[in-house]
Subunit: 330 residues, 4 copies
């Protein structure tokens, strides 16, 4: 069987997914939809698929699945429509910036029994997966403490900040998901603190650009997350898990791994400067995993439920940072 | 001038300080005091100093300074007596486990004008000093976030836990001091969470063995501390400071830095398994700094005030962890 | 313009090149030739090109260039035929295992003025290129000494050894080329020593499996190469260049860069276990460079001449190892 | 028993040895001899020993052992005199720059049955010892290839070069000894090449400042040594041993192990800039090993014979570099 897919949204990330589909012999991109004809055309040219519309894709019985890369505020509606149309769905995170809306959407998904996967790409990073595998293999014993450092190369412009949902829903949400992926237990409390140290315009919009978060689970496992919207040396993405028998850590990835030694010391080049080059393999692997789940008719992971929980944690972090209280997750 | 010193307390750390004094041509150990004659004798033999008593040292005008390494509950009294006797004082941390008692002691010190230095040895670790120097040199711009991972090789026995004052006053206190050393601003709030994941007996004594702490300063700088009483791979001591222009990090120290590569991968030996081998250079450097301050008649650092603040932060952390609230430092 | 290519040889490396062509919008694979119909068919299926023959490709005026990945003993003949037919040629190294035959072939190429590039893929490894760039940028001053460690994960079977031309022509030849790429001067002398330490069957075939080589240039620059047919920990490929102002080194590449710390120490996974995963980017970049040279009508590099020199160095090394003498290159 | 020692030569290295003796409770420095009264006095002051003469030390039955740190050209005579006087002898390498003189001296030592240890301090470096231990423990299987990179921070002045015996006898001799220490078999052939790339004055004196050497053993094990008299980034000292089951490497030692990350990349400080800080622990450990051998009446290692073999290898390397031939060791 070949899975026939439609791509909704032909922007930056849509192009990445189109390429991933092209490189998987079990899948075929048959349609692309975008409000901008040029964007759709570019992908149609490269992949040989047709340009289509949402309605046409919904009505097309030959399309098995859709990849949703449209703006965030369209996600929940599209998920509901395609779930009702019986298509398998891959959707970029988040389902919605509003927890209630996301929860309602998930209800629809459940009723329809639709297959849905959320685009938490980092779970598919080969290094992070290797960390998880080391845990699953028992190499570090019982997980006790997770430490995540996650810093962007530079702060996005105010226009982006405005629609981003804020640092916790936009940036930390990935770390919440990875923390859950590694802790092995659900998170029961969130404490967060936020500051504006990078760009005062971010503060003027009511957001933070620097944040520290502590998460705990019922048995007392702890996770620490350190976020900044700026890291001059590149896209800083480190995770470490400490357990009863040891620790496992994923180091930063380096596009060029040379070292120059001079009288001033030993110097290595900066890290990746962009999330799409840092997570190239992860993006390809997540689409492959989605195709796997369609081909083998199994539930994909991460699920819509995973997306909802991460969003709740983000809301809790925001409340914690604003009110300076520990927030329990119920 | 040669600084003439008396050593009060001839235990493990006393021996380390005696050796540091012996290697400094500007100083001479002239007396040692200990409740156990054998301990005092051992140091007397090695250094050629005489065995003495507290009273005799107090009364001896030829003694310029004392090194206090006696049990914690004697520190405040000894500090007060020697301050009044006009001796310069080096005292192992803490002044006292009780903030009020420590504060009262500091009042006495102030009245007498005595010179006093607290034994926060880590400030003298050459690698941590290099981190501080990189900050002072402007290499990372304005400090924004400090990340400290500090894990002991193994949990101490219950007997020790009982008199330790708890993880925050016994273990995290070093990290509080280093955070202050690096943040460049006073800490205004503390959030801490503690768990018992390593040894249930520690929990039975009302203490924690795993803790995560977030500190903030008035301008919004943040510090994260991650503590565990157990690290199978050795004494794990890492600090990282993130700033507007970059980051600076001190890696773990390794007693043996070889790497073996086999079909199972690349393996390096574990870290130091003991704080005294990890901080050998730091212990020697702090005594040298104390002698410097006596010789040059300048105020030593870290001061008794630094000790008091670290203790207050520890108390705040304990309150935060127990009551699950953010604690403001006043 | 779109460069139209034919692929001669649809084996392992042919597939890699077909993929590189497919990902370059300026190029199109229009024909594939292979003695095994299934191999050719597989590539035809994936790329949409036609299955053809050598003669048909030679006669086809619409084909601009050929990629030669056939067995080594066919290279020289094919190069001559396609040079005479006016096609641009990319050929896997070596031109021939016999220096005289390779030299004769190059004469034909020169007469025809054909464009030819030799497949020394390592020159296109991004890390090795960064080493070269650091040199070109003057970061290490004048080059003085090059050190290359190059070890295969495991020894090939005797059948391969028999037709390989021996370790110097098969394996070290890459290192000779990289040494030339980095030394900045021609090599004037070769000393080599070879041993059989890995597999006695290799010795029975008159070959070596472990070799050390010293190269010198006219001004006294030196290069050391260390080769082994076995490295249990993976494909070990390191280069370092020492100069008057410093050094620059390319570290090994790691498919997974995590580290597990336990009571037994810190362990990282092994290296790549296969040259095609280690040099994935290099293979793609060399085909891109070939297409560049065709598109822009410039001479490609590395040239057939580079291939001939590397082969002469291999012959010199063999003579040196067998006769235990320093061999001058004339 | 306490070993009573005399120090002959109170220069730079003599001071280091005096300190090592002072820190060993089993030993006591009782006399120091030096042509410069001030040098002897400085050590006498610090250690409380008496200033003496060669003849007085020879005649003193209370002195068990001597540490010879006088100029190289006095070593052989002093060894012979103290061997005849029945003293245990530690002597800085080399016995003599002339192989025949060194061999004659060793004959005298043998006749007298004197205990003698040569100061190849690197064998006592804890990291190099750990490499050797990994080999002895079978971690890398059979040793196949040893790779040594050994570079000085800067070239010595011409005055030193003149009396040094040349790069092979002065600098590479340490690497020859370490190669023997790790190869596990005697070396049977030497090929060396030398260049003048660092300082033309070194060439004018008939010496080299850059050298590459290949050593082989009877069974075909190989060692490569790369030497330079200049490394802008510090004292570069790396060894790696490759075996049938894997490899083991000792990395460079760093006085300060921090890393600063900025937009220009990740930078670590330079290495040690001086052999005495790099090998501090090794110097202390070799004296301790000498005292061990005296206390326990066992033969010390490395022996005078080890010194003689290293010298022969140096002579062979010089012949090889000058005559451009492989030199067999007989």
């Amino acid at each position: 069987m070949v899975t026939r897919l439609a791509l909704l949204g032909a922007g930056r990330i849509g192009k990445v997914h189109a390429k991933a589909i092209a490189s998987d012999a079990r899948a075929k991109l048959v349609a692309v939809v975008d409000a901008f004809p040029e964007a759709a055309q570019a992908i149609a040219n490269e992949s040989g698929c047709e340009i289509s519309t949402i309605d046409a894709v919904l009505a097309n019985p030959d399309i098995d699945a859709v990849i949703i890369c449209t703006p965030t505020n369209t996600h929940a509606d599209l998920i509901e429509r395609f779930a009702r149309a019986g298509k398998a769905i891959f959707c970029e995170k988040p389902i919605d910036l509003d927890v209630a809306r996301a929860a309602a959407c998930i209800e629809v998904v459940k009723e329809t029994g639709a297959k849905i996967m959320l685009g938490f790409n980092r779970r598919f990073d080969p290094h992070f997966r290797a960390v998880r595998k080391a845990i699953d293999d028992g190499q570090i014993g019982d997980v006790e403490m997770v430490t995540i450092v996650s810093r962007d190369p530079g702060a996005p412009p105010p226009e982006y900040i405005k629609v981003s949902g804020g640092i916790f829903r936009d940036m930390t949400i990935h770390d919440f998901d990875i923390a859950r992926f590694l802790l092995g237990e659900e998170i029961v409390s969130v404490f967060a603190t936020g500051s504006v140290l990078v760009d005062p315009r971010i503060g003027e919009l009511g957001d933070y650009d620097s944040a520290s978060i502590i998460l705990t689970t019922a048995s007392g496992r702890q996770a620490s997350i350190s976020n900044s919207r700026r890291a001059t040396y590149g896209y800083d993405q480190r995770i470490e898990v400490h357990g009863s028998l040891g620790s496992v850590a994923a180091e930063n990835q380096r596009p060029i791994s040379i070292e120059v030694a001079t009288k001033d010391g030993y110097t290595r080049p900066p890290l990746h400067d962009f999330f799409m080059t840092r997570y190239t393999e992860a993006y390809a692997a997540e689409i492959k995993a989605f195709i796997d789940s369609v081909e083998n008719d199994v539930a994909p992971s991460p699920s819509a439920h995973d997306g909802l929980i991460a969003l709740k944690l983000a809301d809790a972090a925001l409340k914690s940072a604003r009110e300076k209280v520990l927030v329990q997750i119920v």
